[in-house]
């Protein structure tokens, strides 16, 4: 039960190995390079596969191949690299293959900046690539949560035959925190991969991995199957945390590093006798709409706080469904607010100032 002081990216890499990652294919990009660097040494030590690919495009296609052949496989990148991977991700989702993707988010759009941001929310939850599909996405706020989620991510990906993404902002990737690597995590019961094109099959036993269905009737049927899968995931996999919501007058909605800053703001406000709560999504998709079903009667307004200019706010609006007003506070480009900035924003809400 001992804790080790670790850097975020390193913890991510160790968690992947502990989670059973058999192959890693990736490409360097700031601010996540410690992940491929660590794995380039340690995957080999564990007798597993590591390839530095020639690009993110190549990386995600190597992931697709290895996943189709039945392996537990992972890649990591940052926002612009994830954008390059979108085609590959939709092929993986369309072919119903499992994989784990790590996105250490930075400012955009385009080349953007290398400082932390949360401006990939739309890219992560609104497809990113073509077609009707979803990526099961997590946004942990600290290293322990990150490690625990990654350790279970390979099971989740295998269980649903779907890509799973862990999105942390650059701060989490670079910061150092104590982590208990041996903490028990919930495992899933998994069957054999009797769909994998792993060789050894001919004739009617052949396995074919594809996302191509030229017959529109078959493609619609395939999409409906995917849709039913996503409905099950939405029902069973929402994860969130509520802090101090019971009698709150104002509720912040924030995830990742922004949520941590907001925690401090909530403490400051508490000292001043102002009762503010927080809903912290841990899954970005499926969005934890369950957290918004039963709202306290004391609640006056939501404040959505993001390290972007407003992407998650759309899902909050959908979940709240017009029952209460929603305001927004955001910083972007790598600029991080102080807890006092959030306090000030809440106080403005109280005053009725936009």
């Amino acid at each position: 039960m001992s804790k080790v002081l670790m850097k975020g990216n390193e913890a991510i890499a160790v968690a992947a190995i502990l989670g059973g990652c058999e192959a890693f294919f990736g490409y360097p990009i700031t601010p996540q390079n410690e992940i491929p660097e660590f794995l380039s040494k340690h995957m080999k030590k564990e007798g597993r596969v590591f390839v530095q690919a020639e690009s993110e495009v190549a990386s995600i296609n190597m992931v697709y191949g290895a996943a189709g052949a039945g392996a537990r496989v992972m890649t990591s990148s940052s926002s612009p690299g994830i954008a390059l991977m979108q085609e590959g991700i939709t092929y993986i989702a369309g072919a119903e293959l499992p994989c784990v993707l790590v996105n250490v988010m930075r400012g955009g759009p385009g080349l953007g900046g290398i400082q932390p941001a949360q401006s990939d929310y739309n890219q992560i939850t609104r497809g990113g690539g073509n077609g009707d599909y979803h990526v099961i996405s997590y946004a942990p706020e600290n290293l322990q949560e990150t490690v625990d989620i990654i350790k279970t991510a390979f099971d989740t990906a295998d269980f649903y035959r779907n890509p799973v993404m862990i999105a942390v902002d650059g701060l989490i990737g670079q910061m150092m925190e104590p982590v208990d690597l041996s903490k028990e995590v919930k495992r899933r019961k998994l069957g054999p991969k009797d769909w994998a094109a792993s060789g050894g099959h001919t004739g009617t036993n052949r396995r074919v991995i594809t996302s191509l269905y030229l017959d529109p009737k078959k493609l619609e049927e395939h999409n409906l199957n995917l849709y039913r899968k996503y409905q099950i995931i939405e029902k069973n996999e929402q994860m969130f945390e509520t802090i101090n919501c019971e009698n709150a007058e104002y509720v912040i909605v924030a995830y990742g590093t922004m949520a941590r800053i907001c925690r401090s703001a909530i403490e400051i406000l508490k000292q001043e006798g102002i009762n503010v709560g927080m809903i912290r999504p841990i899954t970005l998709w499926p969005f934890p709409e369950k957290a918004f079903r039963n709202l306290p009667k004391t609640l006056k307004e939501f404040l959505v706080c993001e390290l972007s200019l407003g992407q998650m706010i759309d899902d909050v609006k959908i979940a709240v469904a017009g029952r209460l007003p929603i305001s927004f506070f955001g910083r972007t480009g790598g600029m991080l607010p102080e807890p006092e900035d959030i306090v000030f924003a809440i106080k403005n809400l109280i005053k009725g100032v936009e």
Partner: protein, 251 residues
């Protein structure tokens, strides 16, 4: 009277009817690949990667496990598969749009890493599936739907000689360009395929066979005239020969 079989359909092909145009060399080359896998006893062990182009359906035709790759990405997909399935035989089957246009980067890098895979490159100098647009390997002067006045160096650049490029990559083990335009060349092409797959079995590294191929429909020629175009026109620009062979000296 006793009868011996001189030629019959290979077990390396499924029962599905080929979807290719009449006289298309895809059919001939599919047979050669299938026969090669059969003769080497590796049909069951094989995992093939279908690309995007006319042969997007090849996963219906090869009698082994298959994976469909995004356009151009076959060599990256093959890398992923071979790295986690070292004992399986992994091959890609890619056209010129797929390999020489979209996928040139992935192809060169897979060769550079010496990935132990076999790449079958179908070069017919045109984008067939999408209706006859210019390809990186379209010959100078050839009229296509996106080079209606004929391929021009100033506007379109020179046709790309992929085998020659890959032969310069250190990691490549065996690079050859072949043709199937008549039985003699076809038999030589089969020998080259056998060698390429044998090299993979012997873990010699990256093997690559470029097939000069036809596209009767988009070239606007009969299948027979198309074979003559390969012989008279394509072979002048794309010499049929071995470009690299690490042979027995590779360790």
């Amino acid at each position: 009277m006793m009868e011996n079989i001189v030629y019959q359909k290979s077990k390396g092909l499924t029962d599905n009817e080929l979807s290719y145009c009449p006289g298309c060399t895809h059919g001939i080359i599919h047979k050669l690949v299938a026969e090669t896998l059969e003769e080497l006893g590796i049909i069951e062990k094989s995992i093939g990667i279908a690309s995007v182009g006319c042969s997007v359906m090849s996963y219906f035709f090869f009698n082994c496990d298959m994976q469909q790759a995004a356009h151009g990405r076959g060599c990256a997909v093959a890398t992923g598969i071979k790295r986690v399935r070292e004992d399986n035989i992994v091959f890609t089957y890619q056209g010129d749009g797929d390999l020489a246009s979209m996928g040139l980067n992935e192809t060169i890098h897979a060769a550079n890493r010496g990935e132990n895979i076999t790449v079958i490159f179908i070069n017919n100098g045109i984008f067939g599936m999408t209706g006859g647009q210019m390809a990186p390997t379209t010959l100078l002067g050839a009229k296509t739907t996106t080079s209606p006045e004929g391929r021009d160096v100033k506007e379109h650049g020179f046709p790309i000689r992929v085998s020659e490029i890959l032969a310069q990559v250190e990691g490549a083990a065996y690079i050859e360009r072949v043709s199937v335009h008549n039985p003699q060349f076809l038999r030589k092409a089969k020998k080259s395929l056998l060698k390429a797959f044998q090299y993979q079995m012997d873990k010699k590294g990256f093997t690559f066979i470029e097939f000069l191929s036809t596209c009767p429909v988009n070239w606007g020629m009969t299948p027979i005239k198309s074979m003559e175009y390969v012989k008279d026109m394509m072979m002048n620009y794309y010499p049929v020969k071995v470009f690299k062979d690490v042979g027995e000296n590779n360790d």
